[in-house]
Amino acid sequence: MNAPLPRDWDTLRQSRSRRLERAASLGFGKEIPVDRIIDLLEAVIQPGDRVCLEGNNQKQADFLSESLADCSPERINHLSMVQSVLALPSHVDLFERGLANRLDFSFSGPQGARLAKLVQEQRIEIGAIHTYLELFGRYFMDLTPNVALIAAQAADAEGNLYLGPNTEDTPAIVEATAFKGGIVIAQVNERLEKLPRVDVPADWVDFTVLAPKPNYIEPLFTRDPAQITEVQVLMAMMAIKGIYAEYGVTRLNHGIGFDTAAIELLLPTYAADLGLKGKICTHWALNPHPTLIPAIEAGFVESVHCFGSEVGMDAYISARSDVFFTGADGSMRSNRAFSQTAGLYACDMFIGSTLQMDMAGNSSTATLGRITGFGGAPNMGSDPHGRRHASPAWLKAGREAYGSKAIRGRKLVVQMVETFREHMAPVFVEELDAWKLQKSMGAELPPIMIYGDDVSHIVTEEGIANLLLCRSPEEREQAIRGVAGFTPVGMARDKAMVENLRDRGIVRRPEDLGIDPRQATRDLLAARSVKDLVRWSGGLYAPPSRFRNW
């Protein structure tokens, strides 16, 4: 019998103690003076650490990110960054200045071009691009942070944190870090004697710093109804009549964009006229989209659980606590991990948009020269094989896909796109740019956002393709070409086969759904401007200034 090798079983705790001792030796207590934040970061972060920098497409720990980027690369280097979103210039500065060299993330919208350049120059190693829930999962597996830099609304003297309506990713990050020997540092917007509620208990938090200005929040989900086009109204009419009504979709998530904003604004008008109130769109996993206000006020919506909040919506949300999840203090509680779980297992439909789709229905927002990632779309836009509970929409989709003896249902995953984007860039393509991007990134797999075999329907201005009913790869391809309009791949369709698919209800035109495209006017929108949304909210919605033109 081999005697076990002697080993220490608490190296993480010892490492944590040494870091805290270094901070203490520099005179730091729990509250860090704002002008000494760099000294603290250099004391507690070690070369090679895995650091989680909180930031999503909404809330950002921007002060801590800038401070980390200003640290000395002699003291701090070879960091492995784990973060939901690479959004701020300072996020990329970390790599350009030589503090960090490895990245695992989910989304990088605004910095996509700079990121692609760093990858090509081999100055950054990308571990993987994830969907949010997947990345959170890895925080508890093989990507547990040594140090987490987070953003909170307020701290009290003990270090308890109040996160405000934008809770977002904080609970997942803090839990993974605080319970595996890590260090948690929070930037806060204000110090209060008594917090409205405690979202993170003080003994999970090591240091707090009062940031010079409130953390940045991007109003990412605000869509001005004035910019919704008639073509988007037409596609929204088709989606409501041809999918929402036919499957009786009550529980759903909407992606970001004007296409789905148009649907939200047609609920109190077009959908109500079709007698669909109470029959569709009652329960949502959704950020508080301002364009959902008219549907809420019209009584369409029973419940909304949010990933994060949205700038200007807080007073409205507090005043609609039957609909939104709110704390005893009255303010909203969001939680990205739980909302993504709801989007995965408790929604019958995801509907969103994409930049490119190939003839197998694979879609990607990655285009040449930009590495943008996916956010939540791969999670919500996938059919979860772990689901067991039934619902009418899920069962109907399952029977369409697997036949009348189906032993499981199917999630509806709908991609809604105009066949051409701006500047006449075709959405439908023979080959996704993702394949070229894979080569230039040296990645194992092409960055595909939603796999074709998860997609159930495609909605374009030309019609709806129901991929569940296709019985062969050839039928799928022709169904996709059959709604691809005048794009080159659309014009390369087999016309006879598409007409056959149309006879079988696999491809449906507006007239097949009883929709006259000329009815698709902006007059159908419940709100035609941001000011209309404010009016619907009874003055409770306070849009950011860039959305005000009155």
Binding site: G485, M491, R518
Partner: protein
């Protein structure tokens, strides 16, 4: 700026009112004027567009329109600022209805 001219066979328009104008010249949009044409079984189209190099796409969009709508006996003038085929098809349907005195 590119100028394109097409002629398509099309069933005669059942009834014609006054010349009809639809849309606006703005980014991603277009303006379409429909007037009486010379040949009852043909639709003549003249396009001024800011987006060069899309003649084959215009050809396909307009051919589909002329085949699916009775547009014979019309002359159609288009001022385009990069409208997508979706917008073009929608505006053509709208303006033809108006030309027939139907409006909505």
């Amino acid at each position: 700026m590119e100028t394109l001219d097409f002629r398509f066979d099309s069933k005669p328009v059942p009834q014609a009112a006054d010349p009809a104008l639809c849309g606006v010249v703005g980014s991603g949009n277009l303006e379409i004027l429909v007037q009486a044409g010379a040949q009852p079984n043909a639709c003549e189209v003249s396009i001024k567009t800011s987006a060069r190099g899309f003649a084959s796409t215009w050809q396909a969009v307009l051919a589909s329109f002329a085949a699916s709508h009775p547009a014979g006996g019309t002359r159609i003038a288009i001022n385009d600022m990069g409208a997508t085929p979706a917008v073009v098809s929608l505006r053509l349907a709208q303006v033809l209805a108006e030309y027939q005195g139907g409006g909505q």
